[in-house]
Symmetry: C2
Subunit: 463 residues, 2 copies
């Protein structure tokens, strides 16, 4: 995303990537001896490694087998963590479904790895590309990097989720705890994610107006709300009850009957999540990285609860896990191409789909409050950015750090976002280290979220 | 679609539209005095009427009020036809749901009318355009026509369907006959259509390979199959039973227990439908026109059955109607811009979504056999095209008729498709008349479909 990042700051201006892409087209015309011959050539998969873009990174990095192994270990560990944690009455179904889910997720990972190079060659051919602004002045900042590659994980993970659902329904017996209502919610989640993939890709291609970016996620949140079968009542924690007045029909005996207010809150959560990943962006791997960390945190929470004694809680967390596992597998494959130095940019396609997938998992899994704590860096980044977004403070075209070609380090610019704040507090660093700093903050937020849950549980409150 | 029509014949060659779009980009660069100024200009809605494209058609044609009136009359007529036909036990729910559906559909129509000009300006800005090949040599063939405008009806109809579902679920009571399983199937239909909108738009932008066009509809058909809750058994009509051998487990007492074979058949139906509208294309208004006629036929069939005594039949036809009514409203709005002479092209975005919407309605409404009869012109066109598609007979880049600039008439070329066949049999005609000829054939197929149903009903057979 570095190429066209942070358009929040300047929605009316043409993005740098678009302008450069036009230059790229012009260049392509000059380079090709005959347009007909160029157009007739079939795009080659993996041709991006041989593109004259000044990058010498092979498509398969040396550490690939190690990373593959870590993925498989992660998947297996997740299954066994869940199974060894609790053996409830439904554990047999949970076991078989988790094994199925793990198998589909591994398939999603390999499929995404295969589809990304295909997407790259098609996007390069149509000049859907950007430039790496944080490497300006070096060899890495010269070439064009394919944009909107989030399309590959998007299509693959939705296909994977649908295959998983088909297998679930084919194999189900009368005792399976996941009924039609469960699948209705699952389909609602798929609709939401798919809508965001479409919206994101349209945005990458057409640069849609900002009002559409706020309005369309509301529509895509509708199936989540419509399918939301459970209570919208909130139990007020005992120490706070003294401060909550009794209102007939709304606040009775320490229970808030929120109804439409709660649904409105859910819409806000979904709209916020789907846009928030897009705002905390700007260095290689940070969009996919933060999404991966949040997703792992949420999946661990799911796996701790899929064997819950409460039937609804168990089913809800299974639903959330069913969305998150393929998402994490696809994201991991994307990260292997998007990690510093990026060979692909994820595009709005990925940031919207990731935000929506995490938000929908939080809503459908009934832990949207915890999810918001996991999203603490994004919430902070959004609030911190508001003065510039509202133009109270001058807002330049890009709010990225400055790259020093001599030292190879990024230094803070006086812009109000988390990335510059981290550079300001901890000093200049390389782009890779900056991404790692953001991910460390993200991991701390996840840990804090689990801590809050534990503390509230100890106190006997509900979260 | 005329600009990039019939790529079936030449999947490996660059489409004319793509080549022209590159020329268009070049042109844009030359015309604009300063790229910055051009890019900073906010696209104006309805600016396409003032584009220097040699067309002088105002965005609002004089007959618009009449057409609006006809839409409203059509909607109301459909409701009352259904209500006066039968008054079953569930008629109260049916009435309220049909009124809700009609209201949402009218809103979808007006929203699509508003969104199309916005899409047009964005697509023009990014040179997502084609040329009108059937008008080559005249003023109308000179300018660029915005492509892929099917995106507007696609996004609006999906949003409309989701609003409709939300209202349904908000207003439902304990006696509402549409349960979670119904909504699971509804969501499955939305997933399928949305997947096709995404696939179509990606194809319009990137020209995806043919294998993807076959494989991806299979994935998008999965939720339909997974949600398909009803029998896959087929009752063999009595006169044919003598010819069907008894096979234990598969064919017993005149009933075929098809199971997976029937599901495979459904996948074929969906994949065929989603591609077939795309193949029968090539003159202004023919893609949206044929889809509209088929959709009206299917909706009439639904409305005759929403009060059926059989509870499942009634619910299935309501499900199909819930998808078709917003689809028809959006298609009607698109037709008002796409009818001869086209101010917009519908793009693969529309042809895929239309094919999938009709196919999914047939599968979810449990009348896929009737739907295939409605698709008779598309089936014929596909079979008739096979010799050229398989390159048994030489296949030129485009299989369109020849346009005579002197007479203004289209004449047949020796290509194997329905459009040329109609010109060959009935002689040269204008492009508008050619579209009308195709639509007449389509109407006859619908009438034939109803005739077959009636005949089988009289004979006591099941369809």
């Amino acid at each position: 995303m570095a190429g066209k990042v942070d358009r929040a700051a300047s929605p009316r201006r043409r993005s740098a990537a678009a302008a450069q892409s036009q230059a790229g087209r012009q260049k392509e015309k000059e380079q090709s001896p005959s347009p007909r011959r160029t157009s007739a050539a079939k795009p080659q998969a993996k041709s991006f490694a041989t593109q004259p873009d000044g990058r010498a990174i092979p498509p398969e990095s040396p550490s690939r087998p190690l990373e593959l192994l870590s993925l498989l270990v992660f998947m297996l560990a997740a299954i066994f963590a869940a199974l060894s944690y609790k053996h409830g009455a439904r554990s047999q179904h949970v076991t078989s479904h988790l094994i199925l889910l793990a198998a589909v997720s591994v398939a999603v990972f390999f499929a995404t790895m295969r589809v990304i190079p295909v997407c790259v060659s098609y996007h390069m051919r149509k000049n859907l590309v950007g430039r790496d602004i944080n490497k300006k002045g070096t060899q890495g900042g010269e070439g064009s990097v394919p944009e909107a590659i989030g399309l590959a994980p998007g299509i693959v993970l939705v296909s994977g989720a649908l295959v998983y659902q088909t297998l679930m329904l084919t194999l189900r017996t009368d005792t399976t705890p996941y009924d039609e209502a469960w699948h209705m919610e699952f389909n609602a989640g798929v609709v939401s994610v798919l809508f965001m993939v479409l919206l994101g890709f349209v945005d990458d291609v057409l640069d849609i107006p900002w009002r559409a970016k706020i309005v369309l996620p509301v529509f895509s949140a509708l199936p989540l709300l419509a399918s939301y079968r459970h209570g919208t009542d909130v139990v007020v924690p005992p120490p706070l009850r003294a401060y909550v007045p009794e209102v007939p029909g709304i606040s009775v005996d320490g229970i808030l009957y929120l109804g439409p207010i709660y649904k409105f809150y859910m819409v806000l959560v979904v709209v916020f999540c789907s846009n928030s990943i897009n705002i905390l962006a700007g260095c290689n791997g940070v969009e996919a990285g933060q999404s991966f960390v949040i997703g792992v945190g949420a999946l661990v929470l799911n796996l701790l609860n899929v064997c819950s004694d409460d039937k609804n809680t168990a089913a809800n967390h299974m639903l959330s896990a069913s969305m998150l596992a393929p998402f994490l597998a696809a994201t991991y494959a994307l990260l292997m191409h998007n990690w510093y130095p990026s060979r692909v940019f994820v595009g709005d396609t990925y940031t919207y789909l990731a935000g929506m997938c995490l938000g929908a998992a939080g809503v459908l899994g009934h832990f949207s409050e915890t999810m918001l704590i996991f999203f603490a860096p994004q919430v902070f980044n959004f609030i911190y950015s508001v003065p510039q977004l509202l133009k109270i403070v001058p807002c330049p075209r890009h709010r990225l750090p400055t790259f020093d070609t001599k030292t190879g380090l990024l230094t803070a610019t006086p812009n109000y976002n988390l990335i510059n704040l981290l550079l300001h507090i901890f000093g200049p660093c390389t782009e890779k280290d900056l991404t790692i700093r953001v991910l460390v903050v993200q991991v701390l937020s996840i840990a804090f979220g689990f801590g809050v849950r534990r503390a509230l549980y100890e106190l006997g409150w509900v979260l």
